[in-house]
């Protein structure tokens, strides 16, 4: 059994270098890595908050960690506590039942903080709109730096959104 395992591991590593990215993705990846290095000492901590999504946006955030995009490899880490986060990545229209939790998470995130709202829902409430149960877009509840359209936004679009948000941030404010 050990043999089999070893063999597969070996073969696996040899025959599966990270898939060659398309040129646009390669450029994006490079810029993202440079900016994280320049502005965040090479480590950007993101706290993800699902404020009421359909879970479609979460699927694409998960995809960011697959070998094609390898977000962790660029220095981006998803952290378990807002206290350790530089950025909140928020999905969904904000469900009324999540409003308090979202605000609390935002308050618990140290300044200066960035907020990226994801998806049609995060941008304008999407199919769910505003209602007795939904506050609609994320910006209706907390300040948003960048909103990324798409339903769900592709992994590349999410990376672009993160890049836009951190690039707009003055380097000096981060210790």
């Amino acid at each position: 059994m050990y043999q089999l395992l070893k063999q597969v591991f070996d073969v696996g590593i040899r025959t599966e270098p990270p898939p060659p990215p398309e040129e646009s993705l390669r450029v994006l990846t490079q810029r993202l890595e440079n900016e994280i290095l320049r502005l965040f000492n090479g480590a950007l901590a993101i706290r993800q908050v699902d404020a009421g999504s359909c879970n479609g946006c979460e699927l694409e955030i998960h995809a960011l960690n697959n070998p094609y995009y390898n977000l962790e490899g660029l220095g981006i880490k998803f952290v378990a506590s807002p206290r350790h986060a530089d950025m909140l990545l928020v999905t969904g229209p904000v469900a009324r039942n999540m409003e308090v939790a979202l605000k609390r998470t935002w308050e618990a995130t140290p300044d200066p903080k960035l907020v990226v709202a994801l998806g049609e829902c995060g941008c304008d409430g999407g199919m769910f709109g505003e209602s007795y149960a939904s506050r609609g877009r994320v910006a209706n509840v907390i300040p948003v730096d960048v909103a990324v359209p798409g339903c769900p936004p592709t992994p590349a679009a999410i990376m672009q959104g993160i890049l836009t948000a951190i690039s707009a941030k003055p380097a000096a404010t981060h210790d």
Partner: protein, 518 residues
């Protein structure tokens, strides 16, 4: 025939799978529920509606299902004092749905000598206790600011017992929900779930849309099951218009549904390996899943196939070259997944984490009305693709994967089995797909026409029940996620396990929050 001996005037409903509709009085409910349960049937969806604008009082709707078909019951309730007997006496899965009905419509479970859980479920205090958002006269203008939640969790007492509250915002990238563990040392004595955080008013939203627009919303009830919901919705619209989409559309829908099943199982199998300490598994499975998503985008225009299915057929046709690519991908995936299964099977550490972990016994699964692959992993061979079946699956001889152990290992084994079966089905579909149009125009259904859709999604069976309004609008819509029945199963499966095993047990079910919160 299904549902024998009920002595109800049952009307056959038009549609792709066998279904009947019947009106019942509240007084008949106990006898009907008992009879259906005793014949091995189950309660799936349960919801309410306000028909006072049509002088109809309120109504309660039930979908009962068995291997032969579905029975949609409508029960008229009093306009002033709407109430009905506690259905959880016969079907335990009624409990949370009854509480949701009360939160949305103010329809009560009758007073009973037995214990009835009357705690709110979807309402977390964002609308006041006397306002019911699905009542047609609800103003909902002065919804209160959501305050602090004083939900009465069931206390567990005893020496050394302490509570671990988790959520609603979780550590990982997961949907929000609250879990309260009562533990002694590391051992879980009890888990209580509190859900409803992602409630976003889907039923109310549906009733502001046309039947055409509703398809887009249906595809966003639970993003990971967008194909299953879109098909169930389309099936309901086709049923109410008395139409059958062109055969080619049905083949393409099945193709999409199996690709959705594969994508989800691959992702979860990877995550399960990771939770079990084999990070290699996550990277490998996520790579394979990404390959599936990319080909989806190329051939159907969307990575998750959102909006690919529309009432009347599918959005676009797939040409022969693209179909061949899909078959070729199956050929490429199969050996890779086989190798990964061997690694999982041979990895002592993983097997140690998976075996006898999070056991859901067959008896508990049956009592809770558990469905989908979770039921199949506890020995219940149910699968709506096979029984009652629907086109084109009736031509494909679907092989149902089952396991008996009911543990994480069983659910992993069933998921592997289903990946292989879906690969086989896709190849068969590519080979046998009918020529012809991929979509048809649908007539406008008469107001009041009912339509029911029933699809075996990757997680379990999904129902969409519709009532047509005037001029092609939706009067009423209800979508039912299998997570309603399966969430309580998770509470049972973790009992006696240690807290660190919770993530792997939870992932082995991977239930939808959004789908049950609505």
């Amino acid at each position: 025939m299904a549902f024998e001996g009920l002595q109800l005037p049952m009307l056959p409903l038009h549609g792709a799978s066998p279904a009947w509709h019947a009106r019942v009085e509240t007084a008949q409910l106990p006898q009907v529920c008992r009879a259906v349960r005793d014949q091995g049937g189950r309660l799936t969806a349960l919801w309410g509606a306000d028909n006072r604008d049509q002088a109809g009082g309120f109504s309660l709707h039930l979908i009962l299902a068995n291997g032969d078909g579905a029975l949609w019951l409508t029960c008229r309730l009093d306009a002033r004092n709407p109430a009905y007997p506690d259905l959880s006496q016969w079907f335990s899965s009624a409990d949370r749905q009854q509480r949701a009905i009360h939160d949305l419509l103010g329809i009560q479970v009758e007073h009973s000598t037995a214990f009835v859980d009357r705690r709110p479920w979807l309402s977390h205090g964002a609308w006041s206790g006397s306002e019911f958002p699905l009542r047609r006269d609800a103003s909902l203008e002065n919804t209160s600011p959501p305050g602090t939640d004083n939900y009465a969790f069931v206390p567990v007492e005893g020496e050394g017992v302490h509570e671990i509250p988790v959520g609603p915002v979780h550590a990982g990238i997961i949907e929000p929900g609250h879990f309260r563990f009562s533990v002694v040392g590391e051992k879980v004595l009890r888990l209580e779930e509190r859900l409803g955080y992602t409630h976003k008013g889907i039923a109310k939203r549906f009733s502001a849309l046309t039947l055409k627009e509703g398809a887009r919303l249906a595809g966003r009830i639970s993003g990971d099951s967008t194909v299953a919901y879109a098909w169930a919705y389309a099936m309901a619209v086709e049923a109410m218009t008395g139409t059958t989409p062109p055969p080619r559309a049905l083949w393409l829908r099945a193709l999409y549904l199996e690709r959705e099943r594969i994508a989800n199982h691959l992702g979860d199998l990877g995550a399960l390996g990771n939770d079990g300490g084999l990070a290699f598994g996550l990277a490998q499975f996520m790579r394979l899943k990404e390959d599936v998503l990319r080909l989806n985008a190329r051939v159907a225009g969307h990575r998750y196939l959102m909006d690919a299915i529309v009432p009347g057929g599918v959005m676009r046709d797939i040409d022969r070259a693209a179909l061949d690519q899909l078959a070729a991908q199956c050929d490429a995936l199969e050996p890779e997944v086989r190798t990964l299964r061997e690694i999982y099977d041979d990895h002592a550490g993983l097997q140690d984490r998976f075996m006898t972990c999070g056991i859901l016994t067959a008896a508990t699964a049956r009592r809770l009305g558990v469905v989908g692959f979770a039921a199949r992993a506890s020995g219940e061979a149910m699968d709506a693709r096979r029984s009652p079946g629907l086109a084109p699956y009736d031509l494909l001889d679907v092989r149902v994967s089952t396991a008996r152990s009911g543990d994480v290992a069983g659910r992993v084994a069933v998921r592997f089995g289903e990946v292989f079966e879906s690969l086989r089905l896709i190849r068969a579909i590519v080979e046998r797909i009918a020529p012809g149009r991929e979509c048809m125009e649908l007539p406008v259904p008469p107001a009041g026409a009912p339509g029911l859709g029933w699809i075996e999604g990757w997680r379990g069976e999904i129902f969409v029940a519709l009532e047509a309004g005037e001029n092609g609008r939706i009067r009423q819509a209800h979508a039912h996620d299998p997570s309603w029945q399966n969430w309580p199963a998770l509470e049972h499966a973790v009992i006696g396990n240690i807290v660190p095993d919770f993530p792997v047990i939870n992932k082995s079910f991977n239930l939808s929050y959004s789908g049950q919160d609505l």
